[in-house]
Amino acid sequence: MCLGVPGKVMSVDGLVAVVDFWGVQKQVSLHIVDEPVVPGDYILNHVGYAIRKIPQEEIAETLAMYDELLDGKPEDLMRQDVESEVGASRERPS
């Protein structure tokens, strides 16, 4: 019941939007979302109500935040992982 599902806004008519969730289109109420929503926006839907417009630019920010968190951890660990990935793909028979 309380799972939040992100979807893409296809059209808006007053306070009702048609939102695409991986190919399934549903009507979603815009009564409680706190920002204007236009077609092309992404929203988080809860039981038929958009509770949040998801800003695209913040996705990059979140990833940057994770990277920042990892400061102070040994640099070579990540490198090791990347190298073993590359190494594994090289060993794969072509």
Partner: protein, 375 residues
């Protein structure tokens, strides 16, 4: 977020780096166990689905608290809905609520006895049913602030006179205090549920952190969101820094969704009440304000639960430990019924009913791989 972009939050290189960091932090603290709690069924689902517990340090206990809205709906609240249905009133509710046991019966049980129970995806469907009919329609409204705001918005949007709300809505922030104050509680930090925090804002936890000196980190639902939030939380535990940190800024702001909050508090008032199996939680229940009496099922109907006492309670209910599981003091592996008499198709307790319940999630994803004790 485009569906494809979620993959960035499952990037194995970042995940590996985060789990290594987590391991280092736990080693630095050097205690066993370090216990933290999350209060959200969606977090438990992500942890189980992606097998994250196998990647957690052995000395880090990540416990699920009272985060399943279906499970914490109290027995007398279910009884009210069941009694109403037996009185011939048409009751609409979310799908997960139908099989949740009351004292003697669930809504599903009385449906078999001819009661009119309607499963809806959201409250708007129930309002729609009321508009198209002259009969009384009751919406049995459950869930935390994320669903309570939908109930509030529907009531503010001029519902028909034959529609009313039986509110069993719950408000998360107060229960964190109760669980922390429980005798024997070992909780050293909380992961706060990202979606509920979208509504309330991360700022809502500041008062709790100041009084209880326990850190709170707001977390999202992708594997990397959870790992990163745990790293931050354990860091705060290590530094003994009781702070609120928002690790889900792509959705959660400090002040939250003000439009939603305004509607929420126009319709609801927090009152004390029991959460199933947990305790009386001051201000933990959301009830309709006096101004909404016309749409309040409890004011509109004389709900006669006494008729339920003609039935005997289910035999195994006495052995159910859902309460202790929800307060985080026990886990499904401590339950004698789990996976035996209590199964998703034939649940004894509420935690096995809902897809957000601890027992159901553990059952679905093969239980909980506990590597403790293996050297």
């Amino acid at each position: 977020m485009k569906p494809g972009e979620q993959l960035k939050f499952r990037d194995p290189v970042r995940a590996k780096a985060l789990t290594t960091r987590l391991e280092e932090l736990v080693k630095e603290i050097g205690r066993d166990p370090i216990s933290v709690m999350h209060v959200c069924g969606s977090h438990e689902q992500a942890i189980a689905r992606f097998g994250l517990r196998t990647a957690f340090p052995l000395k880090l206990d990540v416990v699920m608290g009272p985060g399943c809205p279906v499970c914490i709906t109290d027995v007398p609240e279910v009884d009210e809905a069941v009694a109403l249905a037996l009185q011939g009133v048409r009751v609409c509710t979310y799908g997960d609520m139908v099989r949740v046991p009351g004292t003697v019966k669930s809504l599903a049980d009385v449906r078999g006895d001819g009661a009119n129970i309607e499963v809806v995806y959201g409250i708007d469907q129930a309002v729609e049913l009321a508009r198209k009919s002259t009969e009384e329609i009751v919406f049995f409204a459950t869930g935390f602030e994320t669903t309570a705001v939908a109930t509030a918005a529907a009531l503010l949007n001029d519902p028909p006179k034959n529609f009313s709300v039986l509110s069993a809505h719950k408000y998360i922030p107060p229960v964190m205090e109760i669980v922390t104050e429980m005798p024997g509680s070992r909780i050293e930090g909380f992961l706060a549920a990202g979606h509920a925090a979208i509504i309330t804002g991360s700022g809502v936890f500041e008062a709790f952190v100041n009084t209880h000196k326990v850190p709170v980190v707001v977390a999202g639902f992708e594997p990397l969101d959870i790992l990163a939030a745990l790293v931050k939380l354990v860091e705060l535990v290590r530094d003994q820094k009781p702070e609120v940190v928002n690790m889900f800024p792509r959705c959660v702001t400090h002040e939250g969704n003000k439009v939603a909050q305004e509607q929420l508090w126009k319709v609801f008032t927090p009152t004390g009440g029991r959460w199933r199996g947990i305790a009386h939680v001051p201000n933990g229940n959301l009830r309709l304000r006096e101004e909404w009496a016309a749409f309040d099922t409890r004011k509109r109907f004389n709900i006669d639960v006494s008729r339920l006492w003609d039935y005997a309670p289910p035999k195994l209910l006495g052995q159910c430990i859902c309460g202790e599981i929800m307060s985080g003091s026990k886990s499904p592996k401590h339950c004698a019924l789990f996976g035996k008499e209590c199964l998703p198709e034939n649940p004894v307790g509420a935690c096995m009913v809902s897809s957000e319940g601890t027992c159901r999630i553990w059952h679905q994803y093969g239980g909980h791989l506990d590597l403790r004790g293996i050297s």
